[in-house]
């Protein structure tokens, strides 16, 4: 019956002691928003697919010539990814253990599908990113792409993309991954503003719409590429298959 001034819970129980719950939120928000910047840039770059082989391969070439800057960006993203994933997984386990006995019945009034599934959409994206890097960057999954070059002797990213998307399985996985991305962003973007205290009642509905809009934009933006390939709107150079 006594409430003493402090009760020290062993750090291990909730695992909260190393850095505070609010730091975790802020880390998620800051690293998350940088990924969103990357995903947006990446999409705009890739959409040059619609402008033809020349344009896209030019762009790829440009990126490869950034040299040191490219590595700085890659390094930063990798560190951020590690932080985001590690913190996200910790959050999941801590939150899961914060309610050891679950309700027999629990309803959600406000909690949405996308906010509840952040861990799963996040892990989905992570798996996809790994696959994606193996596919295009390290050319492990489809080694036949390794030597592809265009007329100018550059790496023929354009053809790699089309060849990839012509495979129903690869396109299917891609679309599912983009769905996960859309789910993630739908909750993540408004959360970013809330976490940093940039939310207020008057802008809240707009932030929510902004999240959905961004999610849709990314989903349709990215999916337009496999769709165009599968619908034969975009074809391999020379019209061949």
């Amino acid at each position: 019956m006594t409430t003493t001034a402090t009760k020290t819970i062993p750090a291990g129980i909730a695992g909260q002691s190393s850095y505070s719950s609010i730091w975790k939120k802020i880390l998620m928000a800051v690293t998350g928003i940088s990924f969103m910047g990357f995903v947006a840039g990446h999409m705009i770059g890739n959409l040059q697919l619609f402008q033809g082989q020349e344009k896209l391969n030019d762009y790829a070439e440009l990126l490869h010539h950034l040299g040191g800057l490219l590595w700085i960006v890659r390094g930063t993203l990798l560190i951020f990814l590690a932080i985001h994933v590690w913190t996200g997984i910790r959050l999941y386990f801590q939150n899961w253990s914060a309610r050891p006995i679950s309700y027999k019945r629990q309803e959600s009034i406000e909690t949405g599908l996308t906010s509840k599934t952040m861990i799963w959409s996040g892990l989905g994206i992570l798996l996809y990113v790994v696959y994606h890097l193996l596919h295009f960057t390290f050319v492990v999954t489809n080694p036949e792409y390794a030597g592809l070059t265009d007329a100018a002797g550059r790496l023929d990213v354009y053809s790699m993309v089309i060849l990839g998307f012509q495979n129903y399985l690869i396109s299917g996985v891609y679309i599912v991954a983009m769905l996960a991305l859309a789910f993630h962003i739908n909750h993540a973007l408004p959360s970013f503003f809330q976490t940093l205290g940039l939310n207020r009642p008057s802008v809240r509905p707009w932030l929510k719409r902004l999240g959905t809009l961004a999610a849709l934009l990314f989903f349709f933006g990215y999916c337009s590429m496999p769709a165009a390939v599968l619908l034969n709107i975009i074809k391999l150079p020379g019209g061949g298959n």
């Binding site: 959050l91 939150n95 309610r99 809330q194």
Partner: protein, 248 residues
Amino acid sequence: MNLTLYVWRQKNASDKGKMERYDARDISSHMSFLEMLDVVNEDLTEKGIEPIAFDHDCREGICGMCSLMINGIAHGPEPGTTVCQLHMRHFKDGDSIYIEPWRARAFPVIKDLIVDRSAFERIQHAGGFISINTGGAPDANALPIAKKKADLAMDAAACIGCGACVASCPNASAMLFVSAKVTQFANLPQGRIEAAERVQKMVAQMDLEGFGNCTNHYECEAVCPKEINIRFIGQMNREFMKAKTGLG
């Protein structure tokens, strides 16, 4: 009306506990939910079954003592309402009602539907105050405070500390409660002096108690009987950042 209740029964903190089924007969739609439980308890007592223990006190929606999860929603289906102000007219004859205690690691069950919310107390002890002694306060009007700011502080101060935010949060996070206290003071000039220290201490204690983390579901706000806005969580985060970076 007649109802079927499924109620969590647990003899004490170490008991495992289980759901029990009870019939509530001849319930009037004018009764409050707690009066319905009173009637059931009178009936159980007369039958030699130990009545259901549940916390309650003022029964007018302000003390924050009552704390029931009704059909999976903290304080039941009516928004902006504590259990004691929830009336049976919101239920239908023949309904089944699940009644469970708040569930969180930081709120262990004491008995049946009663939980130990002393974690909230300790968070307040850590810094939920302005450090002034009795006596010696300057004239109340010596410090004008903009109405807007005072109203905002009042919005936050309306929290009754019932714990529904924790109970409903998928993560059992206490951020809405803590932020209400932090921002009540942070929005007032007399509370600014200790703002940085306060937010750090209260958040540290909150984390120690084993609450989950906020992941912005906003379920807390949806069930809060006083409709405390989640903007205060945002403000608390900002206060926290300011405090940690020394930019406040």
